[in-house]
Symmetry: C2
Subunit: 299 residues, 2 copies
Amino acid sequence: MLLESLIDKATQAAKKTIAVAAAEDQEVIDAVIDALERNLGHFILYGNEEKIATILECKKCSWDQKVKIVHADSIAEAAELAVKAVFNKEANVLMKGNIPTNIFLKAVLNKEFGLRTGNVLSHVAAFEVPDFDRLIFVTDAAMNIAPDLEQKAGIAKNAVAIARSLGIEIPKVAPIAAVEVVNPSMQATMDAAALTLMNKRGQITGCVIDGPLALDNAISELAAEHKGIHSDVAGNADILLVPAIEVGNALYKSLVYFAKAKVGAVIAGAKVPIVLTSRADTAESKLYSLALALSSANE
Amino acid sequence: MLLESLIDKATQAAKKTIAVAAAEDQEVIDAVIDALERNLGHFILYGNEEKIATILECKKCSWDQKVKIVHADSIAEAAELAVKAVFNKEANVLMKGNIPTNIFLKAVLNKEFGLRTGNVLSHVAAFEVPDFDRLIFVTDAAMNIAPDLEQKAGIAKNAVAIARSLGIEIPKVAPIAAVEVVNPSMQATMDAAALTLMNKRGQITGCVIDGPLALDNAISELAAEHKGIHSDVAGNADILLVPAIEVGNALYKSLVYFAKAKVGAVIAGAKVPIVLTSRADTAESKLYSLALALSSANE
């Protein structure tokens, strides 16, 4: 299953609604219009009504049926209103607009009307890599800096939930390290071994976890064979669980800039998938992120 | 400059000599024969003379002029003899054969006849990435697990020396982190900032260092521009200095398995370049590693 098929899935499914916090921005509206043109879903745009309307009109398009604008006096209020809309089930997906991440997340984590579930929030990226016939998920490349074992377990659960919602029944999870053997001087290998056993003992379910694996052992059957690794995951991993943000970030950028992979990403672990695109993302990548969020959101 | 040109360079230059420790192995001899067929240099093969001769003869080739076999009763002795040959300037490059790395390195680090220089030993990999018109160096993906600042400075110096020996006069070094800003909760960014200043203060010379940079800022001018980064390195880095072995290893494997990059690698920081290939390496990669070592070795 590849990224374009997520767009098809979202297009064919019952339309879901995306609440956008602080939509008064050209690039945000561009992403919204791209999604509308692909018939991905409905939008509620929170923010400065006049500015949003002006940018939408500039585009000379009328989306009366699919777009609602709700005024907010400030970006903080826009975030609160968008989060409340999700909390009240008026929207299925939350999207960050032109607002600093910390102000946005403050609303997301609000104890009264926020979207906490008890699990850690984590970043899940889905890559369509040339010559690979399946999506490769990388987590966490952007949110958790140096997760401990408990946080890694939460990160694994979030990615597994996303993969399962896309139809991958039992995702194969590879906790990545620099080597495939357990080495007490490399914490990544110790945590990987612990995660593997947590899966075997039923502490992390709905997936099969096997690590530590180096990246090549995780995604190449030949490389795994060379090392004599016998594993249900080795060579066929769906989810690459990285030990630290620097690993995930370098891997993410390497896939995009060196391997020409396509990518969509969401924040998982909240009540709904959250889309948190950045200015550097391409229009295509923003669309894939929205499609990934919509495909994995509940109705 | 790409990897094939390193083979040309080694072929056209005055022939250098490679001392191989524990050569009695089919795959090692295959690599030696590949190098001989490309006329890369001369070899002294240390190890079990009978076994080496048998494998060479199996190949039905006669390299009397270019290959010398020197008998050793054990692999430890083979390593000692090979290291001594380098120490005595009978050889310009050292290559590990079929011998555990720890036994091999014990000879390399021998205080009496070993190849220490006072600097840290580190792994330097040179990648030819599709659509990139220059070699991209990654260090350290295999040797130093979690280098501290002083070790990172040594790792940088080693990579710079290799790049300069290949004709890159002032290599651009990017200390990689997950972000391009200094953040005290991310040690990689603190060390990157320190390395940048060490370069500015003349503590690391012959290069220009600028970090922290995320991988995209380091190798894509467009990505650097998007972030408003003004830097002599951003977008044009030659050397990617990673903060930990997990980052380097994932990046290395991503380049090879996802981006279809070609690679050659050496251990730097000893008196001569050391070739330390593994069984999983392709024949082509072993050849590039030898070419990289020969191109960067003194005469």
